[in-house]
Symmetry: C2
Subunit: 538 residues, 2 copies
């Protein structure tokens, strides 16, 4: 399988980005003559994150990229040799040198699908040794991606469809790649874009950003811009000294707002002028470096009105401290009266952006009816998922050589579901989701309109269900190392995620104490579980 | 500055791994003729993480690697051009193409230092445009590294010095690089090693690992090993059929434990034999795939005793579910009686390793007096820092052109400390830490034995202090782009972290409701804060 042309190179996930026990087990399998035994693993989670009743599947595009590039370099094999027993048969290392994923087949939920406990996000089959080695990197690539996509989807549900949500948590991520993953999959989960330039370059995520407080504080007001002249937006007419024009407007603005002309900070104004000269068509004011009402807002208005004279429209203001909802209301009020005073109607509608440690609760407040906030930047809360910073995906062996395998353990919740399986989503006549069904791969798929008996997980008794529609959940993406069809674009997966969520009932979609969504086993699968489980430690 | 020879390549942190507003501000500075203005930023945090009273500084080695390689490639500049205004002066992009860190100077706390609120972890000075661009990557590289080093240090304090702590959270990290960062800095913070092979290869972190449940469940017991023969440890004497030898021992073990010979799972035993054949000198049994007492333990004992006959000693057992403390006690009891029964004293002392969602509370339980646990594997809790998944470092402009700069904002906690500064740790005659002092760079350093007046942060009044020793905190690492001295090795930084912690008083080191450690300002710095603050928005 040829390595993909990939601007991220091998860096995204290298084969040695794995737990050492994968390598020790590889040697164990090899020594036991079982490297090529056909095996199947399932990657799934046991509980939905954040106390919710759903998750979004994500990370498949990174898994496919990883699988296609999977090759141990000489340096990798040498390092493994240095940590394995010195008398290890050299033939094992030859085996490792020749490894790739040309024997690996992957079925998976499309990215953006609704995912529920126990339903595989990925089914990975192939030679035992190699599919075992894939465990850690695949978990690493799927767990956090699905977690943050789900987190972003929750934040989108809270914000509603109208507010623009911008992810800006790179500085709070777990190192560089954590940031890239966060930006990519928060977009998939429903955000509008990111501040992360690399996510724009490598993943096509829409990027946005304007200025920080340091830009504002870097100006004292005594600087002399090398060229304060700006041409009108339409290109016609003489160039104007923007700084001088702003000073003239400042007097009128201060008079209107009842402020002394000395109150607005001259350095802040110089910073706004500098920014406006660089971005006349995209001027945004960051209002809270010194004082929103007495400095940031009048300075912004002076610059915006001066730009307006030249035919440019400011694109927004940003607040980054204090009571954001209340301040947005006050700022909107001032925008409104100033727009009326100077007869510039567009000024009233300038978007208000806010940021500053916004979590689910604060977001709900900012998204409430009557809020004047238009764009919400979220960093820490989306990237670190503080309410539950890991999803807990696992990757479990379900069959070897066609024989089902099951782990029992001391803890019933950690038992696995044996056997190679198929998964279906059953729908009612009104298109509502009834349940997800897991059954053995060899069973006939359920038929629309036909009643079938199933065992809801966790229930003591079976029940019957008659679906009006049946959708297979797991799609074949990689067959014997070959990509079967191109993956959807990130934007398409994002749209699919919103579509998937729209089909989920409000009771399951509720963020607090939702009704759990049912996952059920076919009678045959339940019988297999009972048989292997009852056998106890045999 | 030449790019370092670095096996991680450019991947660790690329220049475009940044917030877009750094690039828009760069254009703003450039357009205002200020790209080369000398500027200084400080990177610090405002509150210690996890409700504690200390943090460990970490991430400097990644920052230095990033700075030395910092260069925008043509593709990077082209991407920036695609998201900046189309009429941007091409000379700006030429400026970007020529950028490097040859004008950048970095002072920093050595890695593993104690760090407190407001004391800079990094001071970065150089041309305004480039040091602004560095903000996001440096925050990304320092914040999480310091957070996880601190988290690891807390876990080490709870575990005590004797228990071995292994980080194994790669699969729960925020993507590949999150995992690498976690493994590197949890080691720095006090762990003994990691399961992450890449951290071993690239960073020299000791790696460890044996086998997972999938290895055990992959065997049914019907497999025929291609070569079940094993030579004695000493190399002398005939090779022995290990599988047959194990079966013989199983009978004796079951008789001793009062178990039926059919109870231990034959597949689990086959897996143990396969592993022992591959790792006769490093055999560890994972006991809880089916049942610890009725299967895992007797199978382990049979294999360990068979190996013992050949002169090999098993290196451990692992438990991964259920009540770990209680099970460890039971397992130790069985090891003890079995050791006595068969007169193999070493068996009694086989290390017991445990894992399974271990958090601070569970760790305290496992580390209690009388615990039979020897090695503790921690994944999610160390990597995701669930108690506080981000540190909240900030990077603030403190001076431009030699003039101090200060942000006031709507929120007093977000005010910054202006001016280029020096930082000192003042110690008492008994070597105890008194406080950290921030003063202006031009002030004379405090002298041992001399009383000085300082303003503790947050206090309304000044106080006096007479240090017996004064230690400068910030070390010059990079001067005008040149590394001044080699960074300590990771292992040295790890030792330094433990030394630093040993000097902190128990009252500050306490993990719950500790006494805050004092950070104070010199009188001159306090006067500057008052002057710039009182000026309000002027």
């Amino acid at each position: 399988m040829a390595a993909e042309q990939d601007p991220e190179g091998r860096a995204a996930a290298q084969p040695l980005l794995t737990d050492l026990y994968q390598a020790t087990m590889a040697l164990g399998y090899w020594r036991a003559g079982r490297a090529w035994d056909p095996a199947e693993f399932e990657l799934f989670f046991r509980r939905c994150p954040f106390g919710g009743a759903f998750a979004l599947a994500a990370g498949l595009r990174d898994c496919v990229r990883f699988l296609r590039a999977f090759r141990l370099r000489d340096a990798d094999v040498q390092f493994l040799a240095s940590v394995l027993p010195p008398d290890t048969d050299p033939a094992f290392f030859e085996h490792l040198r020749g490894l790739d994923c040309s024997g690996v087949t992957v079925r998976a939920l499309p990215e953006g699908s609704l995912a529920f406990p126990g339903v595989p996000l990925l089914q990975v089959s192939g030679p035992l040794l190699v599919v075992q080695l894939l465990e850690t990197p695949l978990l690493c690539l799927v767990s956090y991606a699905s977690l943050i996509a789900t987190n972003a989807a929750r934040l989108r549900l809270i914000a509603g469809p109208e507010k623009r949500l911008l992810e800006m948590g790179l500085r709070r991520a777990q190192g560089p790649n954590g940031g890239l993953t966060a930006s990519t999959y928060s977009y998939l989960g429903g955000f509008d874009g990111s501040s992360n330039v690399l996510a724009g370059q490598l993943r096509g995520v829409p990027v946005a950003g304007t200025l920080a407080h340091s830009f504002v504080t870097s100006f004292s007001g005594t600087e002399v811009p090398p060229d304060p002249m700006l041409a009108p937006a339409a290109g016609q007419g003489p160039r104007v000294d923007l700084a001088a024009c702003v000073e003239a407007w400042l007097e009128r603005v201060c008079a209107h707002l009842g402020l002394g002309i000395q109150e607005p900070h001259p350095g802040e104004r110089a910073a706004f002028v500098a920014y406006a000269l660089a971005f006349p068509r995209a001027f945004q004011g960051l209002l809270d470096t010194y004082s929103v009402q007495r400095s940031g807002l009048p300075n912004f208005l002076a610059v915006a009105l001066a730009l307006g004279e030249l035919g440019y429209r400011a694109v927004g203001v940003r607040l980054d401290s204090g009571d954001l909802l209340q301040q947005a209301r006050e700022v909107r009020g001032r925008l409104r009266t100033t727009a009326a005073q100077f007869q510039v109607p567009w000024l009233e509608l300038v978007p208000i952006a806010v940021s500053n440690n916004i979590d689910e609760e604060e977001l709900a407040r900012l998204a409430q009816e009557g809020s004047e906030v238009n764009l919400i930047g979220i960093g820490t809360s989306v990237v670190t998922c503080p309410r539950q910073p890991s999803l807990g995906c696992v990757y479990k062996l379900v069959s070897v050589g066609g024989q089902p395998r099951m782990k029992l353990t001391e803890d019933p919740e950690k038992q696995t579901l044996p056997g190679s399986k198929a998964a279906f989503r059953l729908l009612g006549s009104d298109g509502s989701l009834l349940l997800d069904l897991l059954q053995l791969a060899e069973e006939t798929p359920p038929q629309a309109g036909q009643e079938l008996r199933v065992w809801p997980r966790g229930a003591q008794e079976s029940c019957t269900v008659r679906p009006s529609r049946v959708e297979p959940l797991l799609q074949l993406w990689v067959q014997e190392g070959q990509l079967c069809e191109p993956l959807p674009s990130l934007a398409d997966s994002r749209a699919f995620a919103q579509l998937s969520l729209s089909r989920l009932s409000p009771a399951h979609k509720r963020l607090e104490q939702p009704e759990p969504y049912q996952v059920a086993l076919s009678e045959k699968l339940q019988a297999l579980v009972d048989r292997l489980g009852a056998r106890g430690p045999q």
